[in-house]
């Protein structure tokens, strides 16, 4: 029993007639078989017209049997899973599949936009560059809107992708790309050597071209041979075969990107696709060749298809592309398809061979089979409206010219054999250009670095035998190159390629159209011969200009069956050979690949890693409002039930100044620096003096970049003579470490010192406020934490509960404060303990926002001031860094631009109206001087200060040091406000620092 009016009664090596599958197409229910592709199932059910082309909305059907498909595009899937632009021959049929036509309305048969086709004379290549310019005001609201609406093929859903994707990294000795005759041959010998072999095949079955037509390999039926090879490879444990796996890109040093399709959609946790990053010692390209079409009038009608595809649909899928097929070709390989089709039960209405009668041995067989032979003829026009109804042919009068005695053959399918072109796209990804072989009229892959081999058609080897032999030779060569011995005597030289052309001469590819009609080169973008001639006429003569002007080859089929024909057409127009006309190079991706596969699981919450501090749980439990700060999650504040964030921040900051608070600063960068020369290293890294820092003390330190501008600030704690702990800002932790390592290993290799990151070793809390000493004493009951024992800037290594810890007395807030360093594993426990023992003293947590308020009140610079463009003089640290010494950045600090007195300087800012909407990023300006001329600097940091009871901030102001006490303005045109501001010192609270020292 067979389903569908075009399904043959028997045959179909790839389908299982006992396993029917139902699917929907444009709402209609159809049946196909397990093993079908969407294309074969549609053809089997007589669906010929399934789409419309990009520009002219001409009827389109299925043209090919692979990923070079230009016109047979459908949207597959529903809702969030819908995927536009699927090429029907590449979609494996599965139960419940839903497909629909795209780029046509209301249906492919009746498409309103087909009117474009009637205006085709207007819509030639590049027409939009010549018009839509006047009136200028119409461009955006009218012209561009129309262009955008008309463009685009299928529609993407805007719902998040519900499917999941996997990723894999792998290495192998030998990668074989393509499992056709050549690839299987290569895999055989490579595997036999013991090398680790991976074989990747784009389709979900093996065999390539061999699986699409009856044939033999070494006198064995091709299917049997393929099966035996496949079984042997599956059984070998040094071989991995990946089907439905396309090698999409070739990259440097043997790296290949693969996308393996696992399932049509991910169901029950199974992923839809897997992206492989594969590093191979040796790569064998067995990518085959692509059959090319012919350019004759009407060659885009549904029913016109590549000859090997028509044969393949019959042989592998038991589908007749038509009930009356005409085969058009000019060599034995091409017209031989007619005999295959005849044997498979497809009715062949005629064979049209450009060669004269008797020039081929096949002519006799064709006639003997009862098939009408039209020798010495070329196709001049395919007739039909929505599909082919007849093919008009004309006898040749000479090499290229045609008689006007044309003759029409009734048919509903035209199998076109336009020659073959090696598939060398991947091989060009490293930037090489293909080389033209004028004898065989093909482009061959460019030279590649060692470790790349070619086998089969892609390397210029014609025929099954040559494919297998060259494959075996390549497999052996690759194995030997990996240091494996070859067990196969066929390390012998690969067969010499012969010089027979692989396709017809130009005049038989780009055929005259005496009876009118459009001859298409690019079936997706509707690029015709006339477009190429027009482009040439206008001077777009290089292939690059031609391609961009006409958009030839820029569709989703990437010109696989258009580029070659385009070069022939360009060559004819320019009067040169296709090779002289030029060549384009090829870029990844070999076929379009889903972005989701490359993104894998790095999406949503897992887009980037999340770093969490050891006491994270406590912060969440305490109601901390978590925000992202770079890769970290931190609590910006701990609001009480009915508090706004702003109120919480004000409360927390005030509490620190009045009593005591604790903040988690584990995110700071921490770097251990040890070695006999550690002190020298420290002195060279920081711009302020470090030589006098004794063990047991810490000091604020500023690092410059080599260009003399501020890199980072932090603390330098000298734990012992040759042991330091450096802290950095959170944002620069990694880069400062790299900076130090770089200097140690490339600039100062003579210095003996080592650094290591200890950022993740230590959890760090700052306990700040008038009651901080009491809290510290409660936390470390066995330690002497008096002012004498731990004075300001002291650092002490202590032990608690058997764990080494550090106490450093420094202050970011301006209150008496201690930083406590706890081994990370005990961070959470210590935080909880601190809150517990601190409670009687009023200890409460505060977040990053309150920390910001406190540091602004104290005029401490942070990220907004240290924007990578400031010097130490700019930010008020001139005195600290006045004493010069050899250190990073010392010399370039003196460049005139960095010493310019007009440079903005750090100032404190107080809003005259305490509740003014002052924001960081407002511009400082001279009242009364409008525009750019009045600009003097900008506001860097702002907060509501509980200590000052109003809005304060820091800023960088030209001549700021000389303007204390003056009232200027902060302009925020984005917010539409101008705010009067008083300039003053940057320290608002405890300017003498007395709170720090007691």
């Amino acid at each position: 029993m067979s389903h569908g009016p075009y399904r043959l009664a028997q045959g179909g090596s790839g389908i299982d007639r006992d396993a029917p599958i139902t699917f929907r197409y444009n709402g209609r229910r159809h049946t196909g078989y397990a093993g079908d592709t969407l294309a074969s199932a549609l053809l089997g059910n007589g669906e010929r017209l399934i789409a419309r082309s990009f520009k002219y909305h001409r009827p389109r059907g299925i043209y090919t049997i692979g990923s070079e498909e230009p016109g047979g595009l459908l949207t597959v899937g529903e809702g969030a899973r819908q995927e536009p632009n699927r090429k029907a021959p590449t979609v494996t049929l599965h139960e419940g599949l839903s497909a629909r036509s795209q780029n046509c309305w209301p249906s492919p048969r009746w498409d309103l936009m087909a009117v474009n086709g009637y205006l085709s004379a207007l819509f030639v290549a590049g027409f939009y560059y010549k018009t839509f310019m006047r009136p200028a005001s119409w461009w955006e609201p009218v012209y561009e809107r129309f262009i955008r609406r008309a463009a685009g093929l299928g529609r993407l859903s805007t719902a998040p992708d519900p499917d999941s994707y996997l990723q894999a990294d792998a290495c192998c000795d030998v990668l074989v790309i393509g499992a056709g005759a050549a690839g299987l041959g290569a895999a055989q010998t490579a595997a036999a050597s013991g090398a680790r072999v991976m074989v990747v095949e784009e389709r979900d079955w093996l065999g390539g071209q061999l699986s699409l037509a009856p044939g033999t390999v070494d006198d064995e039926p091709a299917n049997r041979w393929i099966e035996r090879q496949a079984d042997a490879l599956e059984a070998a444990d040094n071989v991995q075969v990946l089907r439905s796996c396309v090698a999409f890109g070739l990259y440097d040093h043997g790296v290949v990107g693969l996308v393996e399709t696992l399932a049509p959609e991910s169901v029950d946790g199974q992923a839809r696709a897997r992206y492989w990053r594969l590093a191979a010692e040796q790569i064998i390209f067995a990518t085959g060749a692509l059959e090319q079409p012919l350019a004759f009038a009407g060659n885009d009608l549904p029913g016109v298809m590549l000859a090997h595809a028509v044969c393949g649909y019959a042989y592998r899928f038991g589908v007749a592309a038509g009930h009356q097929v005409v085969v058009v070709g000019s060599d034995d390989a091409g017209i031989g398809n007619a005999l295959h089709l005849h044997q498979l039960g497809v009715s062949v209405a005629a064979v049209v061979d450009a060669r004269h009668a008797g020039e081929s041995a096949l002519h006799e067989s064709i006639t003997a089979a009862g098939i009408p032979l039209h020798a010495g003829c070329l196709p001049v026009r395919a007739h039909g409206h929505a599909k082919v109804k007849a093919l008009r042919i004309a006898p040749r009068q000479s090499e290229a010219s045609l008689s006007d005695q044309t003759h029409s053959i009734r048919c509903d399918a035209v199998a076109v054999a336009g020659g073959w072109q090696p598939a060398l796209h991947l091989q060009c990804h490293l930037g090489g250009r293909p080389a033209y072989d004028p004898d065989r009229d093909i482009f061959l892959p460019p030279a590649l670095p060692p470790g790349h081999h070619h086998a089969g058609a892609c390397g210029g080897f014609a025929g099954v035998e040559a494919a297998v032999e060259s494959g075996r030779a390549a497999g052996s060569a690759a194995a030997v190159a990996c240091g494996k011995s070859s067990m196969d005597s066929q390390t012998a030289v690969a067969p010499a390629a012969d010089a027979t052309p692989w396709g017809p001469a130009s005049a038989w590819r780009v055929i005259a159209a005496p009876k009118g009609g459009k001859r298409f080169i690019d079936l997706q973008h509707d690029v015709t011969i006339e477009d190429i001639e027009l482009a040439y006429r206008e001077g777009y003569r290089s292939v690059e200009h031609l391609k961009r002007y006409t958009t030839l080859g820029m569709g989703t089929d990437q010109g696989k069956i258009a580029n070659m024909l385009g070069l022939h057409a360009l060559g004819m127009t320019a009067g040169v050979s296709p090779g002289e006309a030029g060549t384009t190079t090829f870029r990844p991706s070999y076929v379009p690949i889903p972005l989701g596969a490359i993104a894998g699981s790095h999406r949503g919450a897992d887009f980037r890693p999340s770093r969490i501090a050891p006491a994270q749980r406590c912060h969440v439990e305490a109601g901390g409002r978590m925000i992202t700060a770079g890769a970290w999650h931190r609590a910006e504040a701990y609001p009480h039930a009915d508090e706004t964030i702003a109120d919480a921040v004000t409360r927390e900051a005030g509490h620190v100044r009045r009593r005591v608070g604790i903040v988690d600063v584990s995110t700071l960068g921490k770097i251990a620096l040890i070695g006999p020369d550690a002190a020298e290293v420290v002195n060279r890294l920081y711009v302020n003096g470090m030589k006098t820092l004794p063990p047991g003390k810490a000091r604020y330190g500023v690092m410059l970049r080599e260009d003399g501008l501020v890199l980072d600030d932090g603390t330098v704690a000298r734990l012992a003579e040759t042991r330091y702990l450096l802290t950095t800002t959170t944002a620069h932790a990694a880069s400062v470490l790299v900076h130090i390592e770089y200097l140690l290993e490339t600039a100062w290799p003579e210095l003996q010192a080592t650094v290591a990151s200890v950022s993740d070793h230590w959890a760090t809390f700052a306990i700040a406020g008038p009651n901080s000493r009491e809290v510290l004493a409660a936390l470390f009951p066995d330690e002497d934490v008096s002012n004498e024992a731990i004075p300001f800037l002291a650092v002490r290594e202590v032990t608690y509960a058997g764990q080494p810890m550090l106490i450093m007395r420094n202050s970011y807030s301006g209150e008496r404060a201690y930083e406590v360093y706890v081994p990370a594993d005990y961070g959470e426990a210590m935080w909880r303990r601190a809150l517990e023992v601190g409670k009687p003293h009023g200890l409460a947590p505060y977040g990053t926002e309150a920390m910001g308020v406190l540091r602004i009140e104290k005029g401490h610079v942070a990220g907004p001031e240290l924007d990578g463009r400031v010097t130490t003089d700019d930010i008020g640290l001139g005195r600290m860094t006045a004493r010069r010494k050899p250190c990073v950045g010392n010399t370039l600090r003196d460049r005139p631009g960095l010493q310019d007195p007009d440079r903005p300087r750090l100032v404190g800012l107080t809003a005259i109206d305490p509740n003014a909407p002052l924001e960081s990023g407002a511009l400082l300006a001279e009242p009364g001087v409008e525009g750019v001329d009045g600009l003097l600097g900008h506001v860097t940091s702002v907060c509501y200060s509980p200590a000052c009871e109003g809005k304060i901030g820091l800023g960088l102001l030209r001549h700021g040091d000389d303007r204390h006490g003056e009232v200027i303005e902060a302009r925020d045109p984005l917010a539409g406000v101008v705010i009067p501001i008083r300039v003053g010192p940057s320290v608002f609270v405890d300017p003498d620092g007395s709170r720090l020292h007691d």
């Binding site: 440097d252 790296v255 590093a279 390592e741 290993e745 490339t746 600039a747 250190c887 010399t891």
Partner: protein
């Protein structure tokens, strides 16, 4: 690209941090010549072809390497450990 770390073997370049031109001669930090320093920090040979450059195996052993790589073809030649191959120049030489 794949870089052969002497300690860790051939690894994807994604594991490394780029350090730029390794042929520049860094003056000593004590050298007050602004022109020499400015040329070192800002000017580049920028060759199209063989380029000696620094890479750090940051997501591995963290060693700084001096790598010879062709900037037109990306082919990698020699890989050496930067600290070993830096001449142990005295600071005085670069003053």
């Amino acid at each position: 690209m794949r870089i052969h770390c002497p300690y860790c073997g051939p690894r994807s370049h994604a594991e490394f941090t780029y350090g730029g031109d390794a042929r520049r001669e860094r003056p000593a930090d004590s050298n007050p010549d602004t022109t020499w320093w400015s040329d070192h920090v800002f000017l580049r040979d920028n060759p199209r072809g063989e380029h000696q450059e620094y890479w750090q195996h940051t997501h591995g052993c963290r060693v700084w390497l001096r790598v010879t790589r062709d900037t037109a073809t990306h082919e990698i030649g020699a890989v050496a450990i930067a600290a070993d191959s830096s001449d142990a120049r005295d600071n005085e030489d670069r003053q």
